[in-house]
Amino acid sequence: MQLVARRTVLAASLAGAAAIALDVALAPTIAYQAPQARIGEPAPAFALSDSNGKSVSLADFKGKTIVLEWTNHDCPYVRKHYGGNNMQRLQKKWTAQGVVWLTLISSAPGTEGYVSGEEANKLTLARGAAPSHVLLDPKGEVGRAYGAQTTPHMYVIKGDGSLAYMGGIDDKPTTRLDDLKTAKNFVDAALTELAQGQSVSRTTARPYGCSVKYSS
């Protein structure tokens, strides 16, 4: 009788130890993640002041295709695309077809590319740019929410609010003007496909350029 009891206790404690070990091991291992904008998921909502001091929110453009362009006018890669009239041409081509083009500046005050609203308007005028709005994000919140890394870094948002493209503007990660001629422009391709009611075939590309000059 005693023997049986002892055995039972022993068996129970063994089983118990095994069960607890299992239980703990089943618990998820350490895992964490910073937010990342993802293709097919809703684009993070935001509201920012534009260069004219007007508040612009992503929700204002429900149902429309939206392009987000991170920029820093002093970055050599940005200068390639504006110097070669590439960015302006894209802006004009697509805003004419009802696409909303938002140029975002996430440079922190005192860093390269940081501008006041007035300076931003002057730049737009001087470069013959045609964005729908230039949005000022000096705290870098919207940039961080989207995971914008470089200037330029491009995002295309579909009418339903989901992200359709993110990454570099094209496949030539250089500062050479000549490369514009042979580059395959992913943003133009994505917008063309969306305009034709198709889904975007190339949804991501490596963003290239200068780092966004975030506040540390």
């Binding site: 022993l10 909502a45 991501t204 200068c210």
Partner: protein, 785 residues
Amino acid sequence: MSGFDLCLSARFSNILPVRIEQDRPSAQPRSARGPARAASLLLALLLGGHGPAAWASPPAGERVEADLVAEPAAIAAGRPFWVAVRLRMLEGWHVYWRNPGDSGEAPTISWHLPPGFTASPIVWPTPQRIPVAHLVNFGYTDETMLLTQITPPGVLAAAGGVNIQADVTWLVCQRECIPGAAHLSLGLPFARGGTTPDNGPDNGPDNGPDNGPDNGPANGRASSRESAPENGRQNAAWEATTAGIFAVARRAVPRPAPWPARIELERDWATLTVDGAPLRPTVRAAYFFPNAETLVRHAAPQELSIMRGRLRLRLERSALSTTPPTDAGGVLLIEDSAGSARQAFALTDVAIGEAPPPPQGISLWAVLQAASLALLGGVILNLMPCVFPVLSIKVLALIEQAGGSRQQLRRHGLSYTAGVLVAFTLLGSALIALRRAGAEVGWGFALQSPVAVGLIAYLLLAMALSLSGVFHLGSSLQGVGRGLAQRGGLGGSFFAGALAAVVATPCTAPFMGTALGFAFTQPAAIALAVLLALGLGLALPYLGLTLAPRLIPCLPRPGAWMERLRQMLAFPVYATVAWLVWVLGQQVGPAGLLAALAGLVLVGLAAWSFNAAQSAGGWGRRAALSGLLASLVGIAVAAAGLERNPGEPASGAPSAAARHEPFTQARLDALIAAHRPVFVNLTAAWCITCLVNERVGLASDAVEAAFAAKGITYLKGDWTRRNPEITRLLEKHGRSGVPLYLLYAGDGRPSVLPQILTPATVLAEVARLPDPAQRRGSLPTPARE
């Protein structure tokens, strides 16, 4: 550092004549540095030994100084040689690695070589991690050498030379970035007749007739120029410094990794696994630089685990690419606390996806090898402090009962073996199932649980007390002999076997690591087979004695010494208990440790009561039994305390100071509905990052004051045990685990704080919230107007 400066000075003062000869200003129209460089050269010449000061930084207005250096003074037909494009940056500026990281651009070299010459791709030095705000770049500061191997054609003219040219482009960044380019050219004479100072093994007779015994300073690697050149002091010095330059350049290049590596891709994770026996637990840190630019989030922490000669880095996958990279290779930087030096290894041919099945031909041999290693490891395991006492007890019992029937002895041996094997099968199956489910567990996974550690410690203490003679457990544990006499001890032997298997888990024996490391890369059946071999090894000594009872007479005669030995054997067990308590101390902190120690005291009480109950009668027996019962309950409570306590020690006093409420979704909803700001901290006891964050980022007075000033309610959700509410909140934010820090501004839309918290980031986020008075008036926050 001064040594390095010296090296520089020697290098420059000696390299000058050659450089002047090499530099043809007319041949570098795109280099804006022509005049500047000439001035520097002149300066260097004038200053002599002080030249390097002028050279240590590029000329004014230039952020990068580029030049081209060849290793040999002269080249020979068909003999590959090395050249380096050297980029020297102004302080604070950097150029990029082949994968520049979150931004930037790798340097490019486009070679203009004479017909028949070919150039290898750039051999990239090990990069540095260069953080910029929350982004990370991979590149080089100060100076870097981009090595390229150039192969001349099989036939060269008997005399003369060639000119090799390179168009180099780069992007150099501090905070702002500036593209740069240079056209570099270098004249290289053909090796010709003359004394050959370094006619090493590389450029011997096979170099053809133009490479006579007296050919000039020919091509070759650093290894071929060990002997000092004999001709011309100036030339000799020049060679020494060139050799020095290339030696430094080669040291900066990662070594080819001798281990197989693979990357498993999930939606959010890329797990790099490197199998290699030399990877010891002394590896303190590791970092993987991926060649592919959109494989991982470069700025994300890389979580290192090392298990049985296998290094694993859990990398956060970049959302920028959904397709597997064509090249999953990269550079693995390893910091070993034993060597304390950093070592860089180039991982090439990294397999992508699931672990490839072992090649069929080798498989059987490999399995047999692993199984025999496991068997050997199992046998040795018997000598480890975890198992040795259990085995000894069984053997002592055997000696006592040497006269028993052979059949009975054999049955006991088999029962014990069965106990070991069943326990190993159960543990192994659980382990395999967990690993299948994606859990990162290894052998001895029970030790991850403080409760399991506590219970094993209690069990071992009870055993040790029994050995010390505080109480006698009777046949079930020790008395195979008594069991024999009673014909009832087979179950006891079985459980003794199972006990041996369980107490063995904290211990590792030689050969086990290799065997188990192999086993868990294999299909389940093979893994189990190897595990069972280990179990068989564990059971073998005892099984052998019972199966071959003729051996028993070889053992010493029973006697009083056995009691002494048994008592002595208690001490390794006490030592094991002490070790387990130390492990617990790491896991649960002082508060949990107190619970564990209280449990140990109660084990003592229980043992004493048990003995008293056995020897006493009547009331005494009843009192002793109730004492036993009470102490067993106490032990259970103490063990449960281990489970509850863990979160507290690390947060400790600070968590009491920053007063928080337990998280519930209902409470959160209510606070949001009332437009109250809320800080949610989702944490778990086993999450080291969480604990560090709490201590570093949340526990300061400033943070507490800021919370109070803004009227923030602090909700803390503990995910140490499963909690579906917390899981749902995590999933809502795209997370699969803790930590997650959410700051609700009062409008129900949380901002997500970084997973590495500092008081500054917390304070900055909190400062954005409106003041309590303002909040009542208007809801909008700056982020959402």
